[in-house]
């Protein structure tokens, strides 16, 4: 082939290549990366979620469903009480149950009449929880069996009130000074506003903030927060392999 023929061949072959490429561009649509499965964590989240303990009355007032309360913790299952419900079918809480706090028992709410409660202690001095209450009171307040004596906080003479070490009587709904009498630094932080959840407005001039007291978050019998299920880890970076967790700290 002489030069001119070679040139013709090259140019026409190139034209064919260009057209073939063009066709391939039109045919292969831009590929979308495979859709990742939707992460449904939003459902697990409410902006005001968190282990805040609220009384039955607060629960009902805030529109919560009181059927989460275990009526049979006190009432005999065999002699079922009439459970009043509202038009929407939600449980309506009787007025005399208003101060019942979910998962906390007020001895006097049941032991109204009858002889004063006598607690039994075992050989080590630990209070023995009566069999009837084994399911609703777990004492886990401090290590070394520090608070296994109910009367560290409760007034043995009057079961519906609390008593501090120096004899000050406190209502059940006003437990904060009792907590403060042992947990000083935490109380100091709480008073300054830096212990515990504060929600609402940082600017107290234009808005208000909700501050909660001790028993609104902590169960006084087992104050440590229950362990939580963590929400999912961050997504794997697109296009890259999932990062592996680090090696055990050896360095």
């Amino acid at each position: 082939m002489n030069g001119e023929n070679k040139k013709t061949f090259v140019l026409l072959a190139s034209a064919v290549v260009f057209l073939a490429l063009g066709l391939s561009f039109l045919v292969t649509a831009p590929s979308r990366s495979p859709a990742r499965p939707p992460r449904s964590t939003d459902a697990a989240l409410r902006i005001d979620g968190g282990p805040v303990r609220i009384s039955a009355a607060q629960l009902v007032k805030s529109g919560g469903d009181a059927s989460v309360l275990d009526c049979y913790a006190c009432h005999d299952e065999k002699k079922k009480p009439q459970v009043p419900r509202d038009a929407a079918g939600r449980v309506v809480l009787p007025k005399d149950h208003a101060d019942l706090v979910f998962s906390m028992r007020n001895c006097a709410s049941c032991h109204v009449t009858g002889p004063p409660v006598k607690l039994e202690v075992d050989a080590q001095g630990n209070t023995i929880i009566p069999k009837a209450h084994a399911s609703d009171v777990q004492i886990a307040h401090g290590g070394n069996s520090r608070n296994n004596d109910c009367f560290n906080c409760h007034d043995p003479a009057k079961l519906n009130q609390l008593v501090t070490r120096d004899g000050t009587k406190l209502k059940l709904t006003d437990a904060t000074p009792l907590c403060a009498s042992c947990h000083g630094p935490t109380y100091r932080d709480w008073e300054a506003g830096i212990h515990g959840r504060t929600t609402g407005a940082w600017d107290r001039v234009s808005g208000s903030a909700l501050r909660l007291d001790c028993t609104s978050c902590h169960d006084p019998h087992a104050p440590a927060f229950p362990r939580m299920i963590p929400l999912p880890p961050p997504p794997a970076p697109s296009g890259a392999a999932r990062p592996t967790p680090p090696a055990h700290p050896s360095k």
Partner: protein, 413 residues
Amino acid sequence: MKTAVRNYAVFLWRSGALVFEGDWRYFAWICTLFAICLVGLNAYSRQLVEGLSTTGMTDQVSWGVYIANFTFLVGVAAAAVMLVIPVYIYRNQELHDLVIFGELLAVAAILMCLAFVTVDLGRPERFWHLIPFIGKFNFPGSMLSWDVIVLNGYLLLNVHICGYLLYCRYQNRKPAKWFYIPFVFTGIFWAVSIHTVTAFLYVGLGGRPFWNSAIVGPRFLASAFTAGPAIIILALQVIRRFSTYRVPDKALLTLRSIVQVSMLINLFLLGNEVFKEFYTDSLHVASARYLFLGLHGHNALVPWIWTAISFNVIAMILLALPLSRSLKWLDVACVLAIIGIWIEKGMGLVVPGFIPSPLGEIVEYLPTWNETAVSLGIWAFGLLCYTFFLRMAVPILQGTLNRSNESPAPASP
């Protein structure tokens, strides 16, 4: 005035028309490059539609092969000045014309740099935000703003010098010294500055200890002055082979000694870096450890960097030996040096800076096919530009394209 414009238009038209003339090898070459450009163009169109998720970049490794190529090519552009120094400072007249070939390479390289930066942007249509006084230009605070100025300035400088010298040659006119000599000398300093500013992009980041080292600037320059002249050596041999232009051996040997010295300095600086990282053995050594040895089982870059280092060492040995005075071995050394430095600057600098992330996370990087296609398309575009530039410049320098053989003006209608 009207005749001056007409003359210039004729010059441009005739040079431009030359691009479409050539033998079958010329057309095979430019059609192949054009085909690669097409693939790159299509890949970039997909990237514009889908976003940068078509690349392998992530929040952890947010710069990849685009910026790696950009960094390498800024160095190549800066190295064109290596021809300027012997000619204008040492008054080596034989190499005079070769300065133009070097500066045309710089123009092609800068066009590639601008293309690589543009394809890396998430919103390229907002480039106007970078224009001083029209957009909001963060000068002198941001090193990227310095880079925009120096790169565009360097482009204009080289276009002016080449354009003027070529036009004067076409017109058989002696170029006016004041109209190009000051620019040539400015170009020497400017070339050093474009690569130093690019280095400073990386050096100024305190959150990236792998980059936050004073040695990065000198390493950039040393590697640029190795790879750049090596490319020019190869380009001059191509000109020799495919045109009747006479490229003196002296030019190739002068460039060889530049590559020799620069490679020595480059490897010395690498040794400095390796010592500082591994002798100190602080927590900041993590990125270097990832690059050279692998980190916590991640070692994607280890084979690459050791290949690069061995290529560079072999190239240095070859260049040191008189053996490389023969063009065959010189070419081998140049090719090894270019590949070695491309790897070192690309994967050896850009990617390890991101691994581990500032919060200690290791996410490795692998370019996608789309990203590679865009990069190859830009390389093809750059080579195409340089081919066209040479296709126009060689006949002008040889005198075969000259005002003396303009066809007579057509009779007025």
